[in-house]
Symmetry: C2
Subunit: 200 residues, 2 copies
Amino acid sequence: MKFHYPNGKKYTDSKSSAKKPKIKQVSYSNRGMTLEEDINETNEYYLVHKSAVIHKKPTPVQIVDVHYPARSAAVIKEAYFKQPSTTDYNGVYKGRYIDFEAKETKNKTSFPLQNFHEHQITHMDSVHEQDGITFVLLRFSLSEEVFFLPFQPLKVYWDRMKDGGRKSIRKEEIEESGFRIPLGLHPRVDYLKIVHQLYF
Amino acid sequence: MKFHYPNGKKYTDSKSSAKKPKIKQVSYSNRGMTLEEDINETNEYYLVHKSAVIHKKPTPVQIVDVHYPARSAAVIKEAYFKQPSTTDYNGVYKGRYIDFEAKETKNKTSFPLQNFHEHQITHMDSVHEQDGITFVLLRFSLSEEVFFLPFQPLKVYWDRMKDGGRKSIRKEEIEESGFRIPLGLHPRVDYLKIVHQLYF
């Protein structure tokens, strides 16, 4: 069985898609995809093109009760979502460790910091200390704009909030301290290009 | 809430454990811990001592049905285990990407290769190509011996099996191409020491 990690969808490479041709929209608009879907497709692209190996971590679940019916697969009958204590995505690019979180907002002029949890910031801080490459991808879903914000400025805005300041990052601040990622088709959200420019 | 990622157990740091002292067995034997428990404790040790940031990935689960009872947490009522397509552990050490799998056997003289899946070998191969540090930790549970086996020799034994050869690795082969990790107390399975010697 060919099994694809990030979203459980079967991976289709260029050869097999050639067998069943379909008309591709040559539009760079997002067509209702979520940021997560865009990133998963981007990571698949990186994997196939051997540019990087980056995966989304599975959703952490606390399993309480499992049934084992005869002659079929184990069924989880009771489980709960656990709060993740790390970011969602990690992997390797040219030997270096890559670690990031992706979030979107329907706001137009600012990005709410409540999208992040304290433990995720703590985790990114540890990664940063360990010389890993860590950042967030922020999407303004109404305007379909995606920004790459390194951990360091994020930490500044986070600390400002903890010191009693505003609970969000102004869009102009993101534009200044982050990097706009133009939406593409292949890959959709080419964040690695910015990683390469910034850290290599 | 203080939340600890790898096994869902509450993390106890040295300060809080000082408040409720308990007698520690000064024995280097494994006291019935699984390799996974040993590695989780080792990773906690590395995290607290800022030597590395390495976590176990959550078990991948395909969620089919979720109930949302009033005034309580969402309950997953039907879900299935998915086959992981990567290894269980990854993280960062001095900027470098670390990726490994841990397995144990009750065999005495050889380690069965059926403990690994094709897609895990493929994943480790991609990580290796991307200049990541990838290996397996193998435990002979009866003798409590743990070995560090880099991906390259593992791949040799894997390919030998695929070419019709033996379906396991002889213990002598592991001793020759791998590295024995002495069991300690803090940390229990100090695999980072070998990572450092081999790759830095």
